[in-house]
C-alpha cells in the first residue's frame, strides 16, 4: 500500500510538472506576442518593449519558467497586471465561492444519480426504468448554460424562490444568504452532471446484479433486490467513487460557465474575465490551480479506491 502511494505520488508530481510546463509554454510559444496582445492594437512599440521588460519576457524561457514555478512553490504566484493584487490572495478570495459551489453541485449530482441509477437498473424491463434512463440521456445532452437559463426562468423569475444573480457582498459572514445564492447554480450543475453519473451507476448496478455472489445470495432465499442491496451495493459504491473522480473535471468546468451565468465572483468567472483582459500572471495561476485540483482529486480517488477494494490491495503487495 505504501509503495503504491509512493509511486502514485511520484506520478502526481510528474503530472503537476508536465501541466505547469504545458501551461507556461502554451502561453508563450503559441503564435502571438503576449506583450503585443496585452498592449492591444494601439500599443506603441515603446509600450510593448516596456511590457516585455515588466513581464520578464526578455529573459530566456527556462529562467522565466523557474522564476514562476519557484514562486508558486513558495506561495507567490505573481501579481496581476491590471489590478496589481497578488494572484494568491485573489484566488483564495474567489475560492470561497467556487469550492462550496463545487461541493454542493457534487452533492446534488450524487443525490440524483445514486437512487435513480439503481432504480432504473432494477426496473430495466419496466416502463419506469426505461423512462428514467431515456430521461438521463436527454438531460445529459443539455448544455449547462441552457439548463441554468431555464431554471432561472422557472424558479427565480416565475416562482421567485431564489435570487437569480450575484453573491451577497457580506459573503460567508451571512452564511444563510451566501448559501441561498449558491443553491440554484449548484442544482443546475448537479442536474446535468447527475444525469451523466446516473448512467454509470445504472451500468454498475446491472453489472452487480449478474455477479455470482449476488446470485448465490438470491439462491439462498433473498429476493433479487435484497441480495443486490446487501451484497451488490458495496461493489457499486466502488465504481461510483471512480466515476465521481472523473466527474470532478466536469463539475469544475460547469462551475466556470455557471459562475458567469449567475454572476458569481468565483475562480471560473475570474478566469473568463482575465483571459478577456489578457492578464497573463492571473490566467497562468488560475489554470494551474484548476488543473492541480483535477489531478489531486484523481490521485485521492485512486488511493481511496485502493483502500476500499481489498483485491487491488492484494494485487499490489
Amino acid at each position: 500500500m505504501i509503495r503504491y502511494i509512493l509511486t502514485r505520488s511520484a506520478l502526481l508530481t510528474g503530472g503537476l510538472i508536465v501541466a505547469s510546463l504545458l501551461i507556461f509554454l502554451a502561453l508563450r510559444v503559441l503564435p502571438g506576442d503576449v506583450a503585443q496582445v496585452i498592449a492591444g492594437a494601439e500599443g506603441t512599440p515603446e509600450q510593448v518593449a516596456q511590457l516585455r521588460e515588466e513581464l520578464g519576457l526578455n529573459e530566456p524561457l527556462p529562467v522565466q519558467y523557474f522564476s514562476w514555478i519557484g514562486g508558486v512553490v513558495t506561495g507567490d504566484m505573481g501579481t496581476s497586471l491590471i489590478t496589481n493584487t497578488k494572484v494568491v490572495d485573489e484566488l483564495l478570495e474567489k475560492a470561497e465561492v467556487t469550492i462550496p459551489l463545487g461541493l454542493m453541485a457534487m452533492g446534488v449530482a450524487l443525490v440524483i444519480a445514486v437512487p435513480l441509477g439503481i432504480l432504473s437498473a432494477l426496473r430495466r424491463n419496466k416502463m419506469s426504468g426505461t423512462a428514467l434512463s431515456v430521461g438521463a440521456q436527454g438531460v445529459a445532452a443539455v448544455p449547462v448554460i441552457w439548463a441554468g437559463m431555464v431554471l432561472i426562468l422557472v424558479f427565480s423569475l416565475w416562482l421567485g424562490w431564489f435570487r437569480a444573480q450575484g453573491f451577497p457582498r457580506a459573503g460567508w459572514e451571512k452564511p444563510g444568504d451566501a448559501f441561498m445564492a449558491l443553491v440554484l447554480p449548484a442544482i443546475t450543475i448537479g442536474i446535468v452532471e447527475g444525469a451523466v453519473l446516473m448512467r454509470f451507476v445504472r451500468s454498475a448496478t446491472l453489472d452487480a446484479v449478474t455477479r455470482d455472489f449476488v446470485r448465490t445470495a438470491a439462491a439462498k432465499g433473498l429476493t433479487r433486490t435484497q441480495a443486490l442491496l446487501r451484497h451488490g451495493l458495496p461493489s457499486v459504491g466502488l465504481s461510483i467513487i471512480t466515476v465521481l473522480g472523473l466527474q470532478v473535471a466536469g463539475i469544475v468546468v460547469g462551475a466556470v460557465v455557471i459562475e458567469k451565468l449567475f454572476n458569481l465572483p468565483g475562480i471560473g468567472r475570474m478566469l473568463i474575465d482575465d483571459v478577456g483582459a489578457r492578464d497573463l500572471p492571473l490566467v497562468q495561476g488560475e489554470l494551474l490551480v484548476l488543473t492541480a485540483v483535477v489531478l489531486l482529486i484523481g490521485f485521492a480517488v485512486d488511493i481511496v479506491h485502493r483502500i476500499l477494494d481489498p483485491r487491488l490491495r492484494e494485487a499490489s503487495e
Partner: protein, 295 residues
C-alpha cells in the same frame, strides 16, 4: 470484420434510438447545406418594426430583439455546428492516431513517456485548453475546434492504444510482416482499418461534446465571435431577454440538445453493433469512458 463494416447502417436504422439519431443528424447537416444558398430571410435583415414577433407567418419561429428572423439564425447556426463538429473530429483523429502510434510503435522509452503524457493530458479539461488558446488567439471559432480536437485527440489515443496493441499482435499483422510488408504498410493496410470501428464510435460521441463545447465556450466569450452565427452565441445574445421572451432562449437550446442527444445515441448504438465483446455480455448499457469535457 468486413461484414461489420458493410452492414452498419441497417442495425442502426432498425432500432428506435438509432433511427432518431440518424434522422436528426441528417436534418442538421441538410439545414447547414441549405443555409449556404437559401434562408427564409437574408441573414443581415433586421427590421426593428418586427421586434419580438411570436412564432407565426412569415417568421416561423418568431424574431429576436433586433427583428431578425429566428429560423434564419438557427439555420445559419447549424452551419457553425457542423463546422465545429467535423473540424474537431478531423483534428482529434489526426492527434489520436499519431499519439497512439507513438505510444505503441516506437522504442520502449518513448512508449512509456507517451503513455504517461497521455494520462496527464487526459486530466486537462477542454475548457482549460480553450482558455489557453483564447488568451493568445482571442475569441474565435477555431479556439473551439482546436480545444475540442486536442482534448479529444488525447482521449482517442487512450482508447486506441490498447486496441492498436491487440491488432499489432494479431495473426494477420504477423502474416503481413512475414509477407514482407514494412511497419508503415502494415499499419495502413491492416491496422487502421481494423481499429476504425472503435474510432467511429468515439468520433460520434466527441462530435456531441464538440457541439456542447461550442455552446459553452461561445457563451463565455472564447468561441464564436460576433460575426459567426452560432447556437451558443444566440443563447448568449437572447439571455438578457429571457424573462420577457423565453422562446428566443428556448429555440437555440433545443437545437443544441437535440443534436447532442442524436450524436450520443448514435454513438451508443454504433458501439453496440460494432463491439463484439459487448453483445456477448449481459450489460449493454455500459457507458463509454467519456473524457471530461463539456461546457
Amino acid at each position: 470484420m468486413s461484414t461489420q463494416r458493410t452492414g452498419w447502417f441497417r442495425p442502426l436504422w432498425r432500432s428506435a434510438t438509432g433511427k432518431f439519431g440518424l434522422i436528426v443528424v441528417t436534418i442538421v447537416v441538410l439545414t447547414a447545406l441549405v443555409s449556404l444558398f437559401w434562408t427564409p430571410f437574408p441573414a443581415e435583415l433586421a427590421n426593428v418594426d418586427d421586434r419580438w414577433l411570436g412564432p407565426g407567418w412569415p417568421h416561423i419561429l418568431g424574431t429576436d430583439n433586433g427583428g431578425r428572423d429566428m429560423l434564419t439564425h438557427i439555420m445559419l447556426g447549424a452551419r457553425t455546428t457542423v463546422v465545429v463538429a467535423v473540424g474537431a473530429a478531423v483534428i482529434s483523429t489526426i492527434i489520436g492516431i499519431a499519439l497512439a502510434c507513438l505510444a505503441t510503435l516506437t522504442t520502449r522509452l518513448m512508449r512509456e513517456a507517451m503513455a504517461t503524457l497521455i494520462d496527464v493530458l487526459l486530466a486537462f479539461p477542454v475548457l482549460i485548453i480553450a482558455a489557453m488558446l483564447a488568451s493568445i488567439a482571442g475569441q474565435s471559432l477555431w479556439v473551439v475546434v482546436f480545444a475540442v480536437g486536442i482534448g479529444f485527440g488525447v482521449n482517442m489515443a487512450r482508447v486506441t492504444r490498447p486496441e492498436l496493441r491487440r491488432v499489432l499482435s494479431s495473426d494477420y499483422v504477423l502474416a503481413g510482416k512475414a509477407a514482407g510488408l514494412t511497419t508503415t504498410q502494415n499499419v495502413l493496410r491492416h491496422v487502421l482499418p481494423n481499429i476504425a470501428p472503435v474510432y467511429i464510435v468515439q468520433l460520434s460521441w466527441s462530435m456531441g461534446v464538440a457541439v456542447l463545447a461550442e455552446a459553452g465556450l461561445s457563451y463565455i466569450g472564447f468561441g464564436a465571435s460576433a460575426n459567426d452565427p452560432s447556437w451558443g452565441r444566440l443563447l448568449a445574445e437572447t439571455q438578457a431577454f429571457i424573462n420577457i421572451h423565453p422562446l428566443a432562449v428556448i429555440w437555440p437550446g433545443l437545437a443544441i440538445s437535440l443534436t447532442v442527444l442524436a450524436l450520443n445515441l448514435l454513438g451508443d448504438k454504433l458501439r453496440e453493433t460494432t463491439d463484439p465483446t459487448l453483445s456477448r455480455r449481459m450489460v449493454k448499457s455500459m457507458p463509454a469512458p467519456m473524457p471530461t469535457v463539456t461546457a
